[in-house]
Amino acid sequence: MSIVVNLDIVLAEHNMKSKELAELIGITEANLSILKSGKAKAIRFSTLEAICKVLECQPADILEYRAE
């Protein structure tokens, strides 16, 4: 897919673990793993909003478009 999820980078910048983020935004670790690995088909605005709120970032910091 041309959309790349840079959640790992943002998490590393904030020194936060996936488990902590999953707990804070209210999704399972398995679902967060799907999101990070790029296997997710879609992301809800509510999830995106929660991630941005916790990590204090913009959606563009997490999602990136790369032409194939």
């Binding site: 679902n31 967060l32 999101l35 296997k39 997710a40 088909k41 879609a42 992301i43 809800r44």
Partner: protein
């Protein structure tokens, strides 16, 4: 609990009906096999005297086509028990259920077409005096209903396959 009650009753009722159909088919197959056996014994006893009338051999072996079709129907009906049902969508909308419904639908269509063809061929042969009267124990109108049910099953299989794709996409929405 209350919501689940009628659905489980329906499924159990379906299983009972399928079991009854299987039982009736087995009885029918035994009956036809007995007829075929007596016909074969008749042929064996009068082999020397039948040279002038070869059609008699085909007539005597005709129940074999019906037996084969009924065994095929039996195999189709055994697939009904493999359907996984439940009130949760992840139990019902599976690739396997879609395939089973497709198999049931197409199987019923082939079975009906087979019986219609046998009916047409036997009635044609009776009309031209080649065969004596053949009793198939199957109504043409019943076969039409069977084809309608088969088409519905094919539609359900399509719905299940599409539902599975939608469910997969929904599961991968975070």
């Amino acid at each position: 609990m209350i919501n689940k009650f009628p659905f489980s009753i329906l499924i159990n009722f379906l299983y009972i009906l399928v079991l009854l159909s299987i039982f009736s088919l087995v009885i029918s197959i035994i009956d036809k096999t007995y007829t075929l056996g007596t016909n074969l014994l008749y042929l064996e006893n009068s082999l020397g005297t039948l040279n002038n009338n070869d059609n008699n051999i085909f007539y005597r072996l005709f129940p074999l086509t019906e037996i084969l079709l009924k065994v095929y129907m039996l195999c189709i009906l055994f697939n009904v028990n493999k359907i996984k049902c439940g009130t949760k969508s992840n139990l019902f909308f599976t690739k396997k259920n879609g395939k089973i419904f497709e198999l049931l639908g197409s199987g019923l269509i082939y079975y009906s077409i087979g019986f219609i063809l046998i009916n047409i061929i036997s009635s044609g042969l009776v009309k031209f005096g080649i065969f004596e009267e053949v009793n198939l124990n199957v109504n043409l109108s019943e076969l039409i209903y069977l084809i309608v049910i088969a088409i519905f099953m094919l539609i359900i299989s399509k719905i299940l396959k599409n539902g599975y794709e939608l469910k997969k996409e929904n599961d991968l929405t975070i």
